[in-house]
Symmetry: C2
Subunit: 122 residues, 2 copies
DNA sequence: CTAAATGCAAACTATTTGCAACGAT
DNA sequence: ATCGTTGCAAATAGTTTGCATTTAG
């Protein structure tokens, strides 16, 4: 458990958004100027593999990382790009009922216009 | 409307799977030996933008393309990698009810062990 | 004829990896 | 002293793009 790993973990924990590796790297760099992208990617990959964080995949964007492990979904605003957590708790059982097979996991990404952008109209 | 574009469209139409750009390129090459990857990507991108085909995004894989436009979801087998179409018709309204906002679209990818792999056990 | 699409190659983005140096036990 | 982790740089994978040439209408 190196200080780099602790730093990355801490920054993700503190983040209110769903940062990318690069965003975390830039943050980390403020306090550890010679941390490298490789280290950030390596650690994020490890943590995602061991399941202590979650990797999110959005079309046409670098991956984002999520400190919240509990299964949940995401709504991406097509105007401002903000990513909101969404709880759809009956979804898993709904999928399994429909598929007739147990599922391991799923990823649901919703494209919407967030309420903030909606009120700003256009 | 060039013959390259028609070829790509035809190959996707005939495909029973959800091919990647490269798979389509290799198929197309059999009948049009000097077609280029760039052309395949350009055409797939255009068709996806105009909404006549759908681009699918799976973690850690190149994008796949889907001839079926009608909104539906996908179940990926973690053993064999096969991609199955899934119809979860009440999902959109369920999401909208839960979000309290109209949504533009969504992408749901399910990780499972397909029935074929399940019966082969392990 | 001319505007759009192609083929090719180079560029680009996100991410991974090899390796020598470093650091923690 | 050893083994895992780092920083760096180079490599990779997937995709996009610039441009001269070709093609379709």
């Amino acid at each position: 458990m190196t200080k780099q790993q602790l730093m990355i973990r801490k920054l993700l924990e503190q983040s209110e958004t769903h940062p990318t590796a690069e965003e975390l790297y830039l943050e980390a760099k403020k306090e550890m100027p010679n941390i490298s992208m490789g280290t950030v990617y390596r650690n994020l990959g490890q943590m995602a593999d061991e399941g202590t964080i979650v990797r999110l995949h959005f079309p046409g964007q670098p991956d984002h990382y999520d400190k919240t492990i509990r299964p949940h979904d995401h709504a991406i605003c097509v105007k401002c790009g903000s990513i909101a957590d969404v709880e759809l708790d009956s979804l898993k059982s709904m999928i399994e009922k429909s598929l007739n097979v147990g599922i391991l996991s799923y990823e649901l990404n919703i494209q919407c216009v967030c309420s903030s952008c909606q009120s700003k109209a256009s």
